[in-house]
């Protein structure tokens, strides 16, 4: 089994430009008619990809220069909209699998869903993101390293950028505690004790 610790994540980058890219675009709703997550990867951004193709353009997820990428670079408010975990599941299952996402900001629920899947979402300021995206667009085979421990992103042999990540979530990744079920269940007595104190958990007695 893969080590749960997420200390450094490395791979080629893929640049997906645009603010407010919502979860309906990441995985169109028709693919949510399923009881499993398997097979979602190939449908990631499907409608956006088809439309760009029809207008003679190429979506990042179809662009051969980004094939094999594992670090997704995005702009602001990425993953807004629905709470569907199918969105990060699709990104995780696309191509080689995206291992980390770096963006200017992330929608809250999407961010939390990524944590549950062991995919760190790191924040980079807008100016740095523009530089990073331009670098990767011109040199897509560059290797990127996202270092959760020292909170920096490095284009190997090139620039380095400070990344932002909340301490709680960062610790979860560093210690491999992002898969929360066992940890939560370990506090069963405290769960029952908290429930006992809440009047509505106890028929208002």
């Amino acid at each position: 089994m893969q080590d749960a610790k997420r200390i450094t994540l490395s791979g080629q980058g893929i640049v997906l430009r645009g603010n407010d890219i919502d979860t309906d675009r990441i995985i169109p709703a028709r693919y949510l008619r399923t009881v499993v997550f398997d097979g979602l990867g190939k449908h990631a951004f499907e409608d956006d990809r088809v439309q760009l193709k029809q207008s003679g353009q190429v979506h990042a997820f179809d662009d051969p220069k980004f094939a094999g990428a594992e670090i997704l670079l995005v702009n602001r408010n990425f993953g807004c909209g629905s709470s569907r975990e199918h969105a990060p599941q699709a990104i995780k299952r696309w191509g080689n699998g995206i291992k980390a996402i770096v963006g200017e900001s992330f929608a809250e629920i999407f961010f939390g869903n990524c944590v549950s899947l062991g995919i760190p979402c790191a924040v980079l300021d807008a100016a740095s993101m523009e530089r990073l995206m331009a670098t990767i667009e011109s040199e897509p085979k560059s290797k990127i390293t996202v270092d959760i421990q020292s909170k920096k992103l490095e284009v190997v042999g090139g620039s380095s950028f400070p990344i932002v990540m909340g301490d709680g979530v960062r610790q979860q990744f560093l210690e491999g505690r992002w898969d929360t079920t066992a940890e939560l269940l370990a506090n069963k007595e405290a769960i029952l004790a908290t429930a006992k104190k809440l009047p509505y958990f106890n028929s208002w007695s």
Binding site: R30, S82, E85, I109, L117, L184, L198, P199, Y200, W204
Partner: protein, 471 residues
């Protein structure tokens, strides 16, 4: 310094501080539906775990259920498979299921409140971002992903960070014909679709305090569209009057103790907020979206804004919106032709939403424009039956609207109700994202139910106040 409702409820439900520094938060109410729960049950069973508090999880089917005929098996075999999975899971884990065959089904955010499950001072979660709706009762309510649904099933808790609280005060008298939907769209327009990231929104002020529970739910429902994971309104007599007598609401000697608890969670007068934003109710006009985010909106009396009205880093998205929506900057909002009109959803699928439309249609000879398909979709079977008993179905059908069975319908393209091609839809739902209503090139204009009705009749976006003579 006093505390906000968010602080009090969060602290009362904190089980532990996890080694990572995150909080383990106890959930008072867990709602599930067919789309985001099957994988969670599979994960639970793989781990060999059971549901810790089955009596605190409630299920229904809403996203995939057809609204033309709900006879089983559904024609869509994938939808049928999802419902079969849900039925199996609730029966295996002894979870109360609001089933269509018993006349109990509805949109999860409609049935929670109407059955009295949603109560002040609770933590509420559901694998659905519009769980924010339940904040209208003074609950901390938010959407979660499927892995978190697994966690709640197994432990009744979640690992969460703590949000900041922004108080959004709206004071003054709304003008005639202005609805809660216009207020919530206006707030998103002003604060932006990512303005609320990291915040819980506390809606307050005398305009909010005068609102009914249905209206408050419309306000909180779209907190998520403003980037806030949850929105809430402090509970008051309006909340308690709504709850009294509902199936799951406390009764008899329990009622007074419940009210005491509910009052105790209200934000203190001297509560500390991360910030406070104020708006004047008089400034709000009927709002209509013109773009591909719920923040890209304008008053019906206005125009599609010019590119120069936006900050440099927003201009790319705005250009994308113009192109996708096929609108030009400077074009009037009113006058855009529509093909489909949809009244329903967890935002505007409650009795009072339909009542606002029935009031203007009744005893008049308005007809839906010949080129428009207009759908009226009750948010729950209870809402539908109440409409039938009041004869409202006949008011709608006489005007040329289709009166459907309860469900999410055309809000989200997971059931047969979908746009086709590049149709334009006037919709009382909550999202106008690209492809949201089922056609990858379909276009959505968000607005209030009464504005949807006006658009259906005129065949184009029009000011409902003028069409219906609302003064």
């Amino acid at each position: 310094m006093g505390k906000t409702l968010y602080d009090k409820v969060f602290e009362a439900h904190t089980v532990a501080r996890l080694p990572s520094g995150q909080y383990q938060l106890l959930m008072g109410l867990h709602l599930i539906h067919e789309v985001t729960s099957p994988q969670a049950f599979s994960m639970l069973e793989e781990l060999g775990l059971s549901v810790l508090f089955p009596e605190r999880t409630f299920a229904t089917v809403d996203h995939i259920i057809p609204t033309a005929s709900q006879l089983r098996p559904f024609r869509d075999t994938l939808a049928e498979q999802m419902l079969v999975a849900l039925e199996g899971n609730v029966s295996r884990h002894k979870i109360r299921y609001f089933a269509p065959e018993r006349g109990e089904q509805g949109i999860v955010h409609v049935i929670g409140p109407e059955n009295g499950l949603t109560q002040p001072g609770m933590t509420i979660c559901c694998g659905d971002s519009h769980t924010a709706t339940h904040g209208a009762f003074g609950a901390i309510a938010f959407g979660i992903g499927t892995s978190q649904v697994r966690d709640v099933l197994a432990t009744q808790t979640l690992s969460m960070g703590r949000l900041k609280v922004r108080r959004i005060e709206i004071n003054g008298q709304l003008r005639a014909g202005i609805t809660a939907k216009d207020v919530t769209l206006y707030v998103i327009n002003r604060l932006g679709v990512n303005g609320g990231v990291g915040y819980a929104y506390e809606y307050a002020g005398d305009t909010i305090e005068r609102m009914s529970m249905d209206e408050r739910m419309t306000i909180c429902n779209m907190a998520i569209e403003g980037g806030a994971r949850c929105g809430y309104i402090n509970p008051d007599q309006t909340t308690y009057d709504y709850l009294k007598g509902r199936t799951y609401a406390p009764a008899n000697d329990k009622w007074d103790r419940a009210v005491e608890y509910w009052n105790s969670v209200r934000s203190d007068a001297d509560a500390a907020y991360a910030d406070i934003v104020k708006f004047r109710a008089e400034d709000i006009e009927p709002m209509v979206t013109w773009g591909i985010t719920p923040g890209q909106s304008a008053p019906v009396t206005g125009q599609v804004p010019a590119i120069a009205d936006f900050k440099a880093d927003e201009q790319e998205s705005v250009k994308e919106a113009y192109q996708y929506m096929a609108v030009n900057p400077g074009a009037p909002i009113a006058g855009q032709k529509i093909n489909v009109a949809f009244i329903g959803s967890c935002t505007n699928g409650r009795l009072s939403d339909f009542e606002s439309v029935v009031r203007v249609l009744k005893d008049k000879s308005y007809k839906v424009a010949p080129h428009v398909q207009a759908l009226v979709v009750p948010g729950s079977m209870k809402v539908k039956n109440e409409m039938l008993s009041r004869g409202w179905d006949k008011v709608f059908t006489a005007a040329g609207f289709e009166f459907r069975e309860a469900g999410c319908s055309m809000c989200l393209a997971m059931n047969p109700d979908k746009l086709t091609g590049n149709q334009v839809s006037a919709s009382s739902s909550n999202r106008n994202f690209k492809g949201r209503q089922g056609s990858p090139t379909g276009r959505t204009l968000l607005m209030s139910p009464i504005m949807v009705a006006a658009a259906a009749i005129a065949g184009e976006v029009t000011d409902a106040r003028q069409l219906f003579g609302i003064v």
